[in-house]
Amino acid sequence: MSQPVASEVAVVVSGVHKVFNVDSADEVTALSDIDLTIGAGEFVSLIGPSGCGKSTLLRLIGDLLTPSVGEVTVFGKPAHAARLDQDYGMVFQHAGLFDWRRVAANIELPLELRGWSRVDRAARSAEMLELVRLPEFGGHYPRQLSGGMQQRVSIARALSFQPKLLLMDEPFGALDEMTREHMQLELLRIWRETGTTVVFVTHSVSESTFLSSRVVVLSARPGRIHSIVDVDLGDRTDDTREDPAFFAKATEVREALRGRGGAR
C-alpha cells in the first residue's frame, strides 16, 4: 500500500537553500542543501525541532515561498506552474474555514474559483462530506463545529478538487490526543481511498512514525536533512500504536532527531 509507483514522481526538491531577510542584520538561513524526491502516492512526514524550516520546506513545495537557490518541481513542472494549475491542496494547523460560509460552501470555495456549476459543486461537497464522515453538517456554520470537525472540513476542502498532492502543516497540532489519534486513522483511510500524495509537517515523533511511509528528519539552523527513515508497518490500525515494530521505528526517528545514528 505504501509503495510509491517508481515511474511517477510527485515532488523533486533539488539543491534548495532558503535565506530570509537577505542583506539585512537579521538575515537567517532557514534551509540549506535540501535534496528530496517524493514519489506519487507516498505519505512523507517532515519532522524536526522548531525553527528547523519544515514549514518553510512545505511552503517552498507549494510555491507560497520561493527558494533562494535551487529548484522545486511538482509533477514535472516548476512549483509556480503547479500552484497556478492548483495541483495541490493545503491544510493548516488552524482549520482556516471562513466563518461567513456554511460548511458546504467552504468546501466548494476552490471549486467556485475554478468556475464549477452550482450543481456540480453541490454534488462534490456532498461527496467530500461523506468522505470525512460529516454528511449532515453541510448547512452548519464552522463555529458550530468542534475543532476536530473543523479540521475534517478543512481536509475535505483541500481534497474537493481531487489534487494529486496534499500539503499539511501540523494539521492536528491543535487537537486533543483522543481526537488526534482518531483523525490520524481517518487521514490514512482518506489517503488510501484517494491515492493522494501527502507531505505532512509535524513535530510529533509518534505521529510521523504512525502515518508515514517515510519520515524526513531535519536538523535545526540552518535546516538540513539529517536522515530519512523508511517506515514499513503495513496497514495501520489502533493496534499498530502498541506494536513493538512501531516502537522500534519511533525510537529510530527520535534518535535521528537528537542528532544520532543514520547521519548522511
Binding site: R83, D85, H94, G96, F98, W100, P110, L113, Y141
Partner: protein, 267 residues
C-alpha cells in the same frame, strides 16, 4: 432566540420606568423648580402641545443626520478599499487620518458655515460627514487588512488574485469591524447634526429649537426637543443593529466561544 430577546427587554424597561418615576418624585418631593429640571410629565405635556413642530424638526434633523451618515459611510468605505489595495497610500494616509480624527470636528462647524453657507443644510451635513467618516474609514481599513495569514496563503494556493481575495476574504472579514463602527456613528450622526444646528442652518430644527427655547427660559420645550432627538438617535442605533444581524447571519448561530460583540475571530 426571539423569546430571549423579548424577555431581555424586561429589565431595562423596568429600570427605565422606575428611573422616570424617581425623577418625577425627586423634582416634586424636593420642590426643584421646573426651569432647572422639569418633571417628565411636564416634558410629555410640552411634547404633545408642540408635537407638529417637534415632529417636523425631528424629521428634518433626522434627514440631515441620515444623509450625512450615508455620505460619510460611503466615503469611509471607499477610501478604506482604496488604501487597502494600494499599500503606499495606506502608509501615508492612515496616520494622517488618525491625527485628523483626534481633532474635535464639531469645532469646525462655524467654519463650515462660511464654506458651505449658513442658511442651507449643506454645512450641517458636512459636519456629520466629517464626524462619521473617520471611525468608518479606520475600522473598515483594519478589517480589510487584519486577515489571518493562513487565509491569505490558502487563497494564494488556489492561485486567487487580489480582487478575488478582496471579494472572498477581506470584505467579509471587515463586516464585523464595519458593524462596530456603524453602532458608534449612527447615534453620533444625530449628535453631530444637532451641534451643527446650534451654529447655523435653517430654522426649526432640533438644534435651534433647543437653543432658542433655552434662550427664552422654555427649558421644558428644550427637554421635549431633546427627547425627540434621543428617539431619532435610538432609531438609527436600532437600524444599525438590525443591519448587522441581517448582514452577518453566521454571527447569530449558537456554539463556539467567540464573543459576538467583538470584531475579528480568535485564532
Amino acid at each position: 432566540m426571539i423569546r430571549n430577546r423579548l424577555t431581555g427587554l424586561g429589565p431595562p424597561m423596568v429600570v427605565g420606568v422606575a428611573g422616570l418615576g424617581l425623577w418625577e418624585g425627586i423634582v416634586w418631593g424636593f420642590g426643584i423648580r421646573e426651569f432647572l429640571l422639569p418633571r417628565p410629565s411636564s416634558i410629555m405635556d410640552r411634547l404633545s402641545e408642540n408635537w407638529p413642530m417637534l415632529r417636523q424638526a425631528g424629521w428634518e434633523t433626522g434627514r440631515i443626520a441620515v444623509s450625512g451618515l450615508v455620505a460619510g459611510i460611503v466615503a469611509g468605505v471607499l477610501l478604506a478599499l482604496v488604501t487597502t489595495r494600494f499599500r503606499t497610500l495606506n502608509e501615508g494616509l492612515t496616520p494622517l487620518a488618525v491625527a485628523v480624527n483626534a481633532t474635535p470636528i464639531v469645532a469646525l462647524a462655524p467654519i463650515f458655515n462660511a464654506w458651505f453657507g449658513i442658511t442651507g443644510t449643506l454645512s450641517n451635513q458636512a459636519v456629520v460627514v466629517a464626524i462619521v467618516f473617520f471611525p468608518v474609514f479606520i475600522n473598515t481599513a483594519r478589517g480589510l487588512t487584519e486577515v489571518h495569514p493562513d487565509e491569505l496563503e490558502l487563497m494564494r494556493s488556489y492561485a486567487a488574485g487580489e480582487w478575488t481575495i478582496l471579494r472572498e476574504v477581506r470584505i467579509p472579514n471587515a463586516l464585523p469591524f464595519f458593524a462596530n463602527a456603524l453602532r458608534v456613528v449612527a447615534p453620533l450622526s444625530v449628535i453631530a447634526a444637532i451641534v451643527a444646528e446650534y451654529f447655523g442652518g435653517p430654522q426649526n430644527r432640533i438644534g435651534n429649537i433647543i437653543t432658542s427655547s433655552a434662550a427664552f427660559a422654555r427649558y421644558d420645550v428644550a427637554w421635549a426637543a431633546i427627547a425627540v432627538a434621543s428617539a431619532v438617535g435610538l432609531g438609527l442605533f436600532a437600524a444599525a443593529l438590525l443591519l448587522e444581524r441581517v448582514s452577518m447571519p453566521w454571527r447569530l448561530v449558537d456554539g463556539g466561544s467567540e464573543n459576538h460583540n467583538t470584531p475579528g475571530r480568535e485564532k
